[in-house]
Symmetry: C2
Subunit: 501 residues, 2 copies
Amino acid sequence: METKLRELKGRLAEVFDLNMANALLGWDQSTYMPPGGAEARGRQMSTIGTIAHQKATDEEIGTLLEDLRPYEQSLPADADDAALIRVARRGYEQLVRVPSDLIGEIYAHGAASYDAWVKARPANDFAAVRPYLERSLELSRRLANCFPGYQHIADPLIDINDYGMRAESVRAIFAELRAELVPLVQTICAQPPADDSCLRRGFSEAQQLAFGERIIRAFGYDYSRGRQDKTHHPFMTKFSLGDVRITTRVREDNLSEALFSTLHESGHAMYEQGIERSFEGTPLANGTSAGVHESQSRLWENQVGRSQSMWQHFYPQLQAEFPAQLADVSLDRFYRAINKVQRSLIRTDADEVTYNLHVMLRFDLELALLEGSLEIRDLPEAWNARYLSDLGIAPPSDSDGVMQDVHWYGGMIGGGFQGYTIGNILSAQFFATARAAHPEIDAEISQGTFGTLHKWLRENIYRHGSKFTTDELVQRVTGGPLSIAPYMAYLRQKYGELYQI
Amino acid sequence: METKLRELKGRLAEVFDLNMANALLGWDQSTYMPPGGAEARGRQMSTIGTIAHQKATDEEIGTLLEDLRPYEQSLPADADDAALIRVARRGYEQLVRVPSDLIGEIYAHGAASYDAWVKARPANDFAAVRPYLERSLELSRRLANCFPGYQHIADPLIDINDYGMRAESVRAIFAELRAELVPLVQTICAQPPADDSCLRRGFSEAQQLAFGERIIRAFGYDYSRGRQDKTHHPFMTKFSLGDVRITTRVREDNLSEALFSTLHESGHAMYEQGIERSFEGTPLANGTSAGVHESQSRLWENQVGRSQSMWQHFYPQLQAEFPAQLADVSLDRFYRAINKVQRSLIRTDADEVTYNLHVMLRFDLELALLEGSLEIRDLPEAWNARYLSDLGIAPPSDSDGVMQDVHWYGGMIGGGFQGYTIGNILSAQFFATARAAHPEIDAEISQGTFGTLHKWLRENIYRHGSKFTTDELVQRVTGGPLSIAPYMAYLRQKYGELYQI
């Protein structure tokens, strides 16, 4: 058994290494690659993705997984080896259904599509990306159809990112949340708007980056196993558990942009940095789902990063860093500015209360595209109509409308958005659990220390990697299933106070 | 035939892409990777190197090459397809002799050895790297012994980097050159030394980098297909013909360091950028040998970059950039400073005249190690003895002695040094040919324009990639075989004037 397990781990490590190499090719594409590298980069990512897929679906892995079944069953379900074999089998059974050629096409198309989007977005040229989106939709349908027997064509794509969820279950959660959010947004938006002009006074890039770094070092992001670079669209990526990187973008006329994206990505990164090191090179060495991943980024960005307690400590430092811009701005005014609720155009800039409305409309549009009830050519119009009906504003351009997010332009349509709202819900549920277990967390945060919280997250969530499914993890950590109650309670209390409602 | 050729090209492109991905892993390791990434990176490079080797030696490639023989023979020898098949076959026949396991061991050992050297060199701790060197020697011998029938055990290793050369032929060239160089060095060193203190006055890093960039843009290095980053040891690397990068290191107390390494690496990079684009993804899309590659870097660094003509144009700009440091330094004094000849310890800092003595002693020591007439444990002593006899100085430490160059610590001993001197010889031979064909080149250089020279190099050398062997290329370009005469004539004229001898 030991030989077979070692053989399995060797094969899984080979696949892991190929995937990590491809992640580096992607990171470089988004950070430092000169324009001339684009064409070959797409082909290279496709080549390596295809080889990784071939290696991952080698039937020898299937045989090993079969041979290891008695050993797996002899172990407790939460033993590392049992989890490794179980999660490896789940991945294998998923991947063997997808032809390697399709994987190659998806990678090659994804790189070309991303390149087209990077050029077309500043030019507000939807026509230039339309054929890429059409191809993305076709490839996404082909991928979904590798998993016949689904209820909804989006189900297999959702399952890849958020194992165990389906269009129907996501819709049910979203409907429940929407019913509570819409009236809350209406009530808040009936109040006088917060004044966030203090965030737009001109802040030097280098100082912004240094200040963001100071906060996330305090959070516990380990720079000896990571770094931050600049990109068009902030993201977290990793090349091993010892090398987990983040990116950000900076606008000198908007202090929020880099600051909160940095806190956000650091949450993703601390999750990966906190995974049990002995899982390195195995399928356990990843966060367990898009939703749980997002819960960690949103927890640090919002539950911590937009809290009054944290800024009690950091705001005087921020004022000292930017005296010309902030000396006359009180903590209270700054706190209201970074929590301003408004109906806005851009998802990534949206406040905590309206954010989920941005996600839900994308999720609905994705389902409609996959179902065939919406055509790509009608997508900008449908997008604008939903912004008008759900958020009360119409995008003035496709750049700030249907072309604002990288997701669909990365080559896949479907399965990519629900995790954001699941993450918001779970961020509140996990944070409430942590605070209940350690009431001292609030006082520590107001002193700029985060050790108790970070340790609790590492012990309860990070270290497990993909060992538990989302459902198992939520049950294990919070003692119950996913629930919107803590999230709504958090929003009502915080924004009730802020807007005196 | 067309189908078979397409099939061959597809397989070669897959290998090319894997090798390019590995090059990116290496670039990242030397530029941006955080320390925590080191362990996994070594494993990843070994994994990808092993897969690339397996793919490159797939017997299907051998069959295709056999099947394509009649087609190859039906073409003129200098047809692109004929060259592709010929060069692919040469590579295949070389690689199939080496077991994949050995490749994996070499990659893994190379990363570990490099890591040990990075730590041991600042600590002057030869004992710490000695076991790595012993293993490198063992692996190098095992690699050489995959090619039985050699005259000298170094021959197969030399052949990998400089196809067609052998220990005996290199020794013959080196002996001829040495006989001329040694008295020249003696004569120059008997003169009063040049004063290069003006290069050590404190130059800001950002300005140095910007100035280097200005010059290599004028040379014709294409930034839309490249970029420059900082590293410990300058190098050129490429990820496709559209993405050819260089690195440099900067010392604020030494203007030469970054400046001339930038010019040097830009020469390597322009060679790769100039390769016929239709060769992309094939074994033709590489410079043809280490020697010819080095001829291009040295041509731009020395023949052009240390010439009086070039600085007639650029020196006033350099003075304007650094007025506090250079306003009182005449062009003549600067020109003498950047061409100061002295017996020194460090190869990469050595002037054009003594440089080859540094190379020759390394080459001799490599041969002795491979032959078994020198043991690793005796290497520091042998090194110091040769520096004393050849250059008249003894290294005060192993850090600035036997541990100064990365080469042996990258995991291989042998085949890595002769190219530097071959390159110096060829740089003069090629440059003399270009000037004879286009006498206007000198006047253009003194006006800061390099179009005629760059075009001549592209037409005659760059675009061919690996299509011709070194011998074929030298014959084709210069009308004769490799000769030290133009190089010695260049040195005698330039340094004769400089030192009035």
